[in-house]
Structures are given as structure tokens and as C-alpha cells.
Symmetry: D2
């Protein structure tokens, strides 16, 4: 079954009450079409969204820290206790050191958080797959927030990411993202071998969020 | 009126349910002694603590970002909407670029978040005071988490910080921190001219948190 | 006497042999017009430029480190031994943590390196002046590399930076930069109260570097 | 043929004139025993060491930047022009973002710099091997600068790193480091399947550098 992950970034339209509203629309559409829906929110919004909806809530980032003296860093343990199913890490807007990616994934596994690790290209996708995340999301940074979907602009990157990961660590699932805006984009992503998409402005900034999500849900089914 | 700010860091004893428990003890002691109590928590815990207690809730960090494409960074707007009164910034465990300190303070002012900016020494205290935070907390890093209070080990740093800030920007209030563990430490901090203390393990890791807080509250009154 | 500081960044035209060539042109023009000329180069180019010319050589950055286990960070001691007169720090392309700016300046003072610390606005200029660098260079980042000089686009920032620094720490000299390209820009900078300019592409990318430098030298005299 | 790479960090004993002296000792011992010797120095020291000795000179770090507006970052192009054979990257004292490791290696390949990328454990070694450096140096951080060699304390990490890299990218050579101090440590490193060692204080801080290097050279032969 496919998955649609919506990243609300620091968009006004996906923060606080708006995050809850969006998550409820996702819940409705997800139930209607039998699709997995997940929302990746600001750390402050994890608890409120998890409490008010049944969809999977991800944090947008966790830091590679244990319990201890780490003022102001995002604790995986706190994220878990707040009700998160998992977390994005290494988003193109928040790149991480390779050792921290490795450590964050290990901590997450230990406490039962799912990790979606982002990667800009096939090489990095392969490298990250060696570190055992649950998902790798391949997103060419130059296409993020743009008008042309990665599935149209660079289908070969998605395809190669899928086949490379299959060879190196077949337990890791592949998502793609960047410029995803329509059902057609999502259909193409599935066709290229991914299990779903990571989408942000295409949903969060859409005038009619429900309609866009429905179109995507139909396509992924 | 003096203020006691408790920083829960990423301590297990100050996270999630434990953060709420601790905040309730602080609320009780604060009311009893007529003392301002504030707790600085993980971003994920801001909402739950703000909802369940009446004391001031601070986030442990905010990033210097507006609304927009900033995946995984801590949005001041989200922190505000979650119910925070303000935020720590530039803690010794999370130092910031000087331009980001400046920008974070400007955003915070605009949206009504109070800022407690940390500084390691008198020079940096002075520099940060130029950037108009609500509070500067002077904390020599080598004493943080240790057994000797800054008020005993380096009273001259605290005194100089107070007099320097008075000269350069008298609207900025001064706190001190590092190794604060007892009522005596707090009394000395007030005597040196601060409006209160920033304390972490001294309260969060104490066996009898209520007793330590009471002792501090008596001293600060 | 005025000063022109040329920052070669990582431009091909200001690297290695090209850095030496440019420094020799600066030396010639400086001598001709009796103007202080300084070049800020890649760390790898400090020694070769210092050896082959008589103008002041600055490194583009130093890290806030003492002798010790700091692999790959730029040691102030190594920069000094290589023949540098000083270093830029906190350039808009390389912002630093406030505590590191403070520490880097202290180390530099101790070993006799002059520090030019960059700042984006008047507040940060004031804050950095508290940390006792030799120079503050005010450079609004949005004008760096552009076609309109800071002296035309934002003369009030330069003027306010000068008067603020005079009040807070009169031993600190003020430079300005961003978009400086002509003798007219330099003349205006001096008129606004600075001791000179920090310039990059305006000289390094100029077809006729000597002519641009001569024009600037005439204006600063 | 084995290789000994000496990292001078920001040690006084390996900086400036001392770097040249050390490199000359390495040259002498290398020639005597027919051993590859390489020294990884501060960026400011690349040119002077390359000019005065025949051994391979590495920079301790390069940044993942092309030509352009990157003030104060270490340009691979400048490092190459200064005479470097290659560079260390991702040392435990200077960790890099995964995308920057990928980009730095690509730039280095293009311009003919050899890359030694450091890794703390087997997982990260594997991930980095996917990014095609010339060497991976496995160095458990907790043993760096200590008294017990990685080859004694954690031989299985070295062995597993070697076999993992062989499987995933057999063109990548493996080094090991951390606590290497004697000929015995070097002999063990070779026995475990590495092509050599990355050593720092064990040589740079040794009273008799020549003797230590001779002992290591005999062992590696």
C-alpha cells in the first residue's frame, strides 16, 4: 500500500491549528481511499496533531542525542513520548553530518521511531541505505518547491535510487519528492518503483487541499 | 520580584510527563512564596506544559527563521502558538551565530516572545545586551553541571556582567547560572545584582525537587 | 590614511598565482598613491602572497582554536606563522558563533593578528565592537556581489555604524563593503566616516584591475 | 606497499617550520625503508611542505565548494594549486554533512586530489565507501589521542571495515587510526587487512619522531 507524506515545513498554513486541520483532511481522504497518510510537523505540533487525528505523525527532524545535557536540541525520546510515529532526517533544508545520521537512526530503532532520511542524489541514497533507515526519500534539491516534478524532470534518478537500494539493502523503502503536485506525479512515482511520495507546498499551499490529496490518493492506490 | 528559570535540557527527569510534573511542583512553590517560576522545556513539551500549568513556559531554543521552507528548524511562530512565553537562545550547549541571535531577538519581539540569551563571559554579555534581549543569562561554561556555583567560583563575572549591562542597555535584565544548587547560591545571585537564576540539574536531577525549589524561593524573595 | 581591503573569496581570479599577481598590482598602486592596501586570501595562499609582496596579507577566516587537536580547522597560529598581518572573520559567507568571535579576537590580540570582523547591520556592528576587533566591516548581505554600492543604497547604515562604534568603543575602526565598484563608491565611504572599504568582485573580477584600484586609491587619498 | 599518513592537527609541533622539519624526517625514513609517507597539514602549510619535501602532502580538510563566493572556506582548487596530493575529510574533529562529503569527493576526483575520508564505525565506513573516496580511515573517536591502539582495543572494527569495503566498493582502500603509537600497532593494522595507518600524536608529539617512524616503517614493510 502506498504512502503520502506531507511535510509542513515552517509554513503558516501547516503550523499549530492549521497543522491539525490539514491532518484531519488527510485522515478523511486516507480513510476514504485506504491510503497511508503521514504528516511531518514542527516539533511543537507533534503532540497536538497526534492527539487529534489517527494518521501517522512524524517530526521534521530529530537530533542525534541521548538523554542528557543537550539544551535546545530535538530529543528523539521527547518526540517519541509526544506521540510521533517517526521523523524525517537530513532534509535538504536541514542536512546532517553522516555520523549523526547513523546515530539518529540507531537511537530511533531502539525506541521505535520510523526514520525517513532524505538524499539529494543516487550516491547519497545508496550511502544512507547502508545506515538502515526505514525509508530513503530521494529529492533533488534544485527541484524542491518548484513547478516541475522530480518524476518528470529526473525520472532516472528515482529509478536508479530504487534499483540501487534494492541491491544494497532491500529492507529500505524508497520515496521520492520535489515538485510533486498532482495525481499524475504520484502515479509516476509509483510506476518508477517507489512506495510513495514526500510532498510539501504541493499540498500545504494548495487552495483546495482535499482535492489535491484525493487526486494523489486515487493515483497511489 | 525574582525569577527562577529551570532548564530541563534533554534530561529524562524533565521530559514529557516528567516535565509536567516538575512544572506543577514549580507552580505550587511559586504560588506559595510569590515567586516567578519559569520552565524551559523541549519544543515538543511546550504545549502540554503550558496547557497543564500556569507558570511561564519557555522553549529551550528557537531558530532565526520566518514562516517558510525551513524543515526541521524550530519556528518562533510555532513556539508562540504552542503557548510559550518565550525562549532561551544561545545556551552553551547550543551556541548561535551572532547574526542569528540578532534576527531571533527581532522576530521574538515582533510576535511577543521573551528572550533569555545566554553568554559565557562579560564581553559576550555586553555584546548580546546590544541586541536587546529581555534577559541575558551569564553562565561560565566550565561551571555548568558542576558542583561549585558561579556565585561562589566567579562572583566577579556576575557582578561585572550586571554593571556592564546596566551601562550599555539598562532595559536588559541579568540572570546567572552554572552550578546553582542551593538557596545560598540564589541569595548570592540576587546580592550580586541579578534578577534571578537559570538552573538545570540542581533542580531537575534533585531527589527532592520541591524542597530544593522551596529553599531557592525563600532565598530569592 | 585610508585602506582598501580586497577579499579574493574562492574566485579563480584571486587564487594561487592569480592571488600573487593581484597583490603585486595592489602593491604598485598602493605605493604610487600612498594608500594602505590589504588582500584577504585563501589560507593556502597566505604564505606565497606574503613572501612575494609587501602589502598586508589577511586570511579570509580563522577558527577560534588554540594549539591542539583541531584537525582541519584554520589555526590562528599557523596563519600568523605563514606571514599574515591579520584575518577577516564572520564574513556573511562564513558567519560565526558569537562566543567564537569573542575567542578568535582574544587569540588574535595575543599573537598579534589584526581582526576585521564583518557585520550585516548596525545592531550587530555595535555588538561586535564590544568584542574589541581592530576593524568592523559593515556589509548588508543583500548588497554583496551586487551592482549597487552600500554607500548608495544604504548610506544611513554606514553612517549609523560609524557613530555607534565611536560611542561604544572608539578604538575600533569602521570599514564598509557590498557592491563597492568605483572611486565614487570609495569616496562616499570615506565621506560617511569609514577608514576604508572591503571590496571583492569589484576588483577581483574587473577586467582592468589596475585601473579600478587606481581610481579607488585616488578617491581614498 | 603500505602507507603511513601523519596528521599534524593544530599541534605546535607540526605547524609551520615544524611541519617542514617533520616532513623531512618522514621523507628520510620513507626513502630508507621504501615506504609511502604522507603528511596532512594545516591549509597554510600545504605549499611550504610540498615545496621543501618530496613526500605526499595532504590538507587536513577541504570544503565542498567550487570556484566562487565562499569567503574563508577551504577551496579544493586552492589546495590543489598549493601542491597538495589530496586531503583528509570528515575527521572526527571536523565531521561533515553527508551531501558535502559526496560533493567534496566529486570535486576532488575532477581535479586530481586523493581523498582520505574518516569514519567512526563499520556502518559509516560502508556508507562512505559508496561515495567513492580513495581511502576510508576507520577511527573510533573514543580511542583517538588515547593510549590504546584501535588495533588492540577494537581489532574487529578494523577487520569488519576491511571486509565490508571489499564487498561494497573494492577500489576503496582502508586505513585505520586512533591510538597508533608503535611498530607493533602498525604491523597489526596491516595484518587486519588495511593498507596503512593514520597517526597523529603518536608521531607528532613523540620525543624521537625519527625512531618512532622507523619502527613503524619496519613494521609496515
Amino acid at each position: 500500500m502506498g504512502i503520502i507524506v506531507v511535510n509542513t515545513k515552517a509554513y503558516k498554513e501547516g503550523m499549530g491549528k492549521n497543522a491539525v486541520k490539514l491532518a484531519k483532511i488527510m485522515e478523511k481522504v486516507g480513510n476514504e481511499y485506504g491510503i497511508n497518510m503521514a504528516i511531518a510537523v514542527q516539533p511543537t505540533d507533534v503532540a497536538i496533531v497526534a492527539k487529534n487525528t489517527s494518521i501517522d505523525v512524524f517530526c521534521q527532524h530529530i537530533d542525534a542525542i541521548d538523554y542528557g545535557s543537550y539544551t535546545g536540541w530535538i530529543s528523539p525520546y521527547a518526540v517519541k513520548e509526544a506521540g510521533a510515529k517517526g521523523s524525517l532526517i537530513n532534509h535538504s533544508e536541514h542536512r546532517m553530518k553522516i555520523e549523526d545520521i547513523s546515530k539518529a537512526i540507531k537511537i530511533a530503532k531502539k525506541i521505535g521511531l520510523e526514520i525517513i532520511a532524505c538524499a539529494s542524489n543516487v550516491d547519497v541514497t545508496k550511502a544512507i541505505a547502508c545506515l538502515n533507515p526505514d525509508y530513503v526519500a530521494v529529492e533533488p534539491p534544485e527541484l524542491i518547491g518548484g513547478d516541475i516534478s522530480v518524476t518528470k524532470a529526473k525520472p532516472s534518478i528515482v529509478k536508479n535510487a530504487v534499483s540501487t537500494v534494492k541491491k544494497i539493502n532491500s529492507e529500505v523503502k524508497v520515496l521520492c519528492g520535489a515538485g510533486i503536485k498532482s495525481g499524475e506525479d504520484v502515479a509516476k512515482a509509483i510506476e518508477l518503483g517507489t512506495v510513495g511520495v514526500l510532498v510539501a507546498s504541493g499540498v500545504v499551499k494548495a487552495k483546495n487541499k482535499e482535492k489535491v490529496l484525493e487526486e494523489m490518493a486515487k493515483a497511489i492506490k
